[in-house]
């Protein structure tokens, strides 16, 4: 299936280059997702500045998941470059998607580790935000995997489609790094300093 649009020549848009509209669409979507995560970030800082918040120890699995996303992002970029040059891009793209899948599994593992350490969803807001934001990010990864599978299964795997997958993979990596940084550096103490409540 051709991602909802079609036969540009007949329909008359996309004067510039194939995939130009999809590219703009993806930029806009990434903008929306950035606003979404930023607002969660603001809420995170504001809520953590309250006196009932307690810092949580982050499980080591998060470093592994970061590595998955880094490698996935690199592989996807390689696939995009290869596709652009008309070379075989499928293996790199498959591996890039596999990394994203491994990321989600590793995040679930991290959840289990954290639950084992008696950090629950309710009670401490640091825990609540951790579960909520990792889940939301994983949902965005899952959405990316749907698009990735779509491109894999579609008859024409145009280079620009692979390039858009790569761009989204970089975006997922950046969002995750921002989240990970916030979880690591902005503990209740720091949040209270930012908000001037302590």
């Amino acid at each position: 299936m051709s991602a909802g649009v079609l036969a540009p020549s007949v329909l008359g848009w996309q004067r510039a280059q194939p995939g130009a509209a999809h590219s703009v669409g993806l930029w806009v979507f990434m903008g929306v997702a950035t606003v979404l995560f930023s607002l969660f970030g603001v809420a995170y800082v504001m809520r953590l500045s309250a006196s009932d918040a307690v810092a949580i120890g982050l499980p080591w699995q998060l470093w592994l998941s970061t590595a998955w996303l880094l490698v996935g992002s690199a592989l996807m970029q390689q696939a995009a470059w290869r596709a652009q040059r008309g070379q075989v891009s499928r293996p790199a793209m498959l591996a890039g998607g596999g990394c994203a899948l491994a990321f989600v599994v590793t995040q679930a593992w991290a959840w289990q580790a954290l639950l084992g350490a008696k950090v629950s969803l309710i009670g401490n807001p640091a825990g609540s935000f951790f579960y909520l934001l990792t889940a939301l990010h994983a949902l965005h990864v899952a959405g990316g995997l749907v698009a990735w599978a779509w491109v894999q299964l579609s008859s024409e795997r145009a280079a620009w489609r692979v390039a858009l997958c790569a761009r989204y993979w970089h975006f997922l990596l950046l969002v995750w790094m921002a989240l990970f940084t916030a979880f690591s550096l902005i503990d209740p103490e720091a949040a209270a300093r930012i908000c001037g409540t302590r």
């Binding site: 299936m1 051709s2 991602a3 909802g4 649009v5 079609l6 036969a7 007949v10 329909l11 008359g12 848009w13 996309q14 510039a16 130009a20 509209a21 703009v24 669409g25 806009v28 979507f29 903008g31 929306v32 606003v35 979404l36 607002l39 969660f40 809420a43 504001m46 809520r47 309250a50 006196s51 009932d52 918040a53 969803l121 309710i122 009670g123 807001p125 609540s128 909520l132 939301l136």
Partner: protein, 596 residues
């Protein structure tokens, strides 16, 4: 949808969908989706009107209607507010007018992502179904007020604190998904699918208004999404994002440490831009209607575009003026009061430019024009009371009163709705190929317009008198004089009449579809592109074999020396009527044309 793949290719090949299902149900045609969106919005809007009339019955004639219990009253208030702001106005302006007008006005064959466009409508429909389901849920819909402030919205004591609030939040989250899918389409179509010659600064102001409002929606709805998700988790799983340690009905709850103020910030960071999500499309559409029906170019086109963009930008830095009574650092209050008052500058520019467009125009008092003029008055009246409420020291005594109810109904309830009506009377001939009935239109206009003033002007007075809003019953308060009760009864009677008159409008919509006078392709003799499709109503693909080529802006009216008093946007360049600041190239093309 297992069949979606085939179906996509059908449309892709640009042959017309043939079966009824493909054409009118699972349609990917922006015009059909627009009508689906608009029809659904009007249906929920009628529910909203009915709820407001039920509220008015209680306020005007307390004690006469046993079925309006305090719980139900608050449920009516809440559902009325949410339906009108989100499910009617937002859906109608973006999903309805945005869908119909953007591709036709910029010369595209459709939205760039037709399949996602179709999904947007069906997801919106799902949001409406979930919302309506809450009327039938145990405990009924939520009665928390449309702002859904925690902690009260999810704790016992508020009607619908169980299923009602959950369904409301779920419905909002679904709605946001629908709006985002639609919004991606509108923005990308404007940026990518304009026909040859359609520069950004040749787009009609309707497109500018809808485009900017869509950008606001894409940036603001995430704030509602964030607050909705966290409130839903507080309700269902017992997290404490927003709920502090509270004793509820004598029972200590498990919540602790949450911040209700955080919810208010997030809600209004969405809620204030939402005002402009509704207002900017109205501003844009009204500019076009004035220009067409006064046979004059819009005054200060570029200024109008900049005003739209500046208003859009400012709308993100004023949100806390909704929270003056929540208490805040006086410096913050000063900041938000100032930013709020600054918005009056670009807004006033727009109003002046509308008036200057009318100045010495050839004003045709058609039904769309009547609604347009009514909008200008109403928006002015509502905007001026906004200057009162934008000041902290004036807002604090007034904010709990009917003054606020009068203000926001005038400025963001009635004013945009008048534009909706005007726009429907204006574009109905293009959409259906038939004219709406003029007599019914006049009846609808005069009752709605005069009724609005009879309803809301007295409310300003009641507010200054100190009559509190949000009260179920006003009996037994010494400070409320008998005359206020009489005024309330009067307002209720008018509200019932105005409410019933909307049925005349709906009747007109349906009746004219079959019996209306056949419309010319361009009954208002407008210059913008949507009136120059080969067929009326436009066929699938809009433009036949050849996309149009645009040579001027959409406001070439009463050009001296021209054969007619308007020049279509797609008439050859030699016909003249270019925008005043046209590029030298276009101007010289026109000049050569005249010379030869």
């Amino acid at each position: 949808m297992a069949h979606s793949a085939d179906h996509d290719h059908d449309d892709a090949a640009a042959h017309e969908p043939t079966s009824f299902i493909n054409k009118y149900v699972w349609s990917q045609d922006h015009k059909v989706i627009a009508v689906q969106y608009a029809s659904m919005a009007i249906v929920v809007g009628l529910v909203g009107v009915l709820l407001s009339d039920l509220m008015r019955l209680q306020i005007g004639f307390p004690g006469h209607f046993a079925f309006i219990t305090p719980e139900r009253y608050y449920q009516f208030v809440t559902m009325h507010g949410m339906i009108m702001v989100i499910y009617l106005l937002t859906a109608l302006f973006l999903g309805g007018f945005g869908n119909y007008l953007i591709p036709l006005m910029v010369g595209a064959r459709d939205m760039v992502f037709p399949y996602m466009n179709m999904l947007s409508f069906w997801v919106y429909l799902l949001a409406v179904v979930v919302l309506m389901a809450s009327f039938f849920a145990p405990g009924g819909p939520t009665g928390a007020g449309w702002t859904l402030y925690p902690p009260q919205s999810i704790l016992p004591g508020t009607p619908g604190h169980d299923w009602g609030i959950i369904l409301m939040l779920v419905s909002l989250l679904i709605f946001i998904v629908a709006t985002t899918m639609g919004g991606l389409n509108y923005v990308t179509t404007v940026l990518q699918a304009r026909c040859e010659g359609m520069t950004l600064l040749r787009m009609p102001l309707s497109v500018w208004g809808i485009f900017t409002a869509t950008v606001l929606a894409l940036l603001a709805f995430p704030a509602l999404f964030v607050s909705g998700v966290m409130l839903l988790l507080d309700k269902t799983l017992g997290t404490s994002f927003f709920i502090p340690a509270v004793v509820s009905l004598g029972q200590l709850t498990g919540y602790k440490g949450g911040s209700p103020l955080l919810f208010q910030h997030l809600f209004w960071f969405f809620g204030h831009p939402e005002v402009y999500i509704v207002a900017l499309p109205a501003f844009g559409i009204v500019s076009d209607l004035i220009s067409v029906h006064a046979r004059k170019a819009i005054f200060g086109y570029r200024m109008m575009v900049w005003a739209i963009l500046i208003i859009g930008g400012l709308s993100f830095v004023v949100w806390a003026h909704h929270m003056f009574v929540s208490g805040m650092n006086p410096w913050f209050g000063f900041f938000f009061a100032t930013s709020t008052l600054i918005i009056a500058v670009p807004t006033a520019i727009k109003v002046y430019n509308w008036v200057l467009t009318l100045w010495r125009g050839d004003i045709h008092l058609s039904v769309p024009m009547l609604f347009t003029l009514a909008f200008m008055l109403t928006f002015l009246a509502g905007g001026l009371t906004g200057l009162f409420l934008g000041n902290v020291s004036v807002d604090i005594p007034l904010s709990g009163t009917y003054f606020v109810v009068a203000h926001f109904h005038m400025v963001m309830g009635v004013a945009p709705l008048l534009v909706v009506f005007g726009a429907i009377y204006h574009w109905y001939p293009k959409i259906s190929g038939r004219m709406l009935n003029d007599h019914l239109g006049h009846l609808h206009f005069w009752v709605t317009f005069l009724g609005t003033y009879l309803i809301y002007f007295p409310m300003h007075y009641l507010g200054i008198l100190g009559m509190p809003r949000r009260y179920y019953n006003f009996e037994g308060y010494q400070f409320i004089p008998q005359s206020a009760h009489q005024l309330n009864a009067f307002i209720t009677v008018v509200a019932l009449i105005v409410g019933a008159t909307q049925l005349v409008f709906v009747f007109n919509l349906v009746w004219s579809l079959f019996r209306g006078r056949r419309a010319d392709p361009n009954p208002w003799r407008a210059a913008s592109l949507e009136w120059f499709t080969p067929q009326t109503p436009p066929a699938h693909g809009n433009w036949g074999a050849q996309l149009p080529v645009v040579h001027r802006w959409a406001y070439a009216y009463s050009v001296p020396g021209a054969a007619e008093d308007f020049i279509p946007q797609n008439a050859p360049a030699q016909a003249g009527g270019q925008e005043p600041d046209a590029t030298p190239l276009a101007a010289s093309a026109a000049a050569t044309g005249v010379a030869t």
